[in-house]
Subunit: 137 residues, 2 copies
């Protein structure tokens, strides 16, 4: 346990070094990147596209609770940040395929770590929520 904490501390040294010298978090360049991938739908779409390219309508069916408006908008943001490639095929009617770029694929590993952690701990989180809500009642 102690060694784990030390390890954690040494990692934080690196993390803090990545920030501005003033050591406040507001102009940390990492935040800018994280913000682009921590929208409500972005990680989900990246995970989906990591499997294979999908067309607009396919993504819509895969994630039924996203509105068409947010799907368009999130895909545009992912495209702007260089994670997703958009290609229009001249079929009738035209179909549009979305796929991950190399940059997008490079995000999969760390993102998947987080997903794995979430899967491993979602029981603990549910329990914590239930316990907390019980005290508030």
């Amino acid at each position: 346990m102690d060694s784990k904490i030390l390890n954690l501390k040494s990692k934080l040294e690196i993390y803090k070094a990545a920030m501005a010298d003033g050591a406040n978090f507001s102009d940390c360049p990492v935040r800018d990147v994280i913000r682009g991938i921590n929208g409500k739908w972005s990680p989900l779409l990246v995970m989906a596209l990591a499997e294979k390219p999908y067309r607009f309508g396919e993504l819509r069916r895969l994630v039924p609770d996203i509105s068409q408006r947010m799907l368009t908008q999130t895909l545009l943001e992912l495209q702007r940040d260089g994670y997703v490639h958009r290609e229009v095929f001249p079929t009738k009617p035209p179909s549009v395929e979305y796929s991950l770029t190399d940059l997008g694929r490079s995000m999969f590993d760390p993102l998947y770590q987080l997903v794995q952690w979430a899967e491993l701990n979602h029981d603990a989180v549910s329990a914590a929520r239930a316990a907390f809500d019980a005290t508030q009642a």
Copy 2:
């Protein structure tokens, strides 16, 4: 590169297995957990508290662009999900210390992976954004 893709695919098998059989993403338990930590401020606060416990006012100064309202609210959510412990000390005026629980600490590793990735790739993202915006002008 090919082996990387294969590795990615095998990981996705696991990911999909974690979902409901219908293979649509809307009732994936992982989403519920991810949602709790992908707010605008949550990952930042977890990273900060990973270093050491902080008091309310200290966090406010550390993250100058968070409003007091959102700091209160985000800390409450993190507490509810079992990531953060809140302790009131009977000083005058009372001071409140926030620290990570074991569950919160267990999140650090995967979260830090993502931060590291973000740091490594923020130049590429900036470049992609600039290139994209140039075509839209």
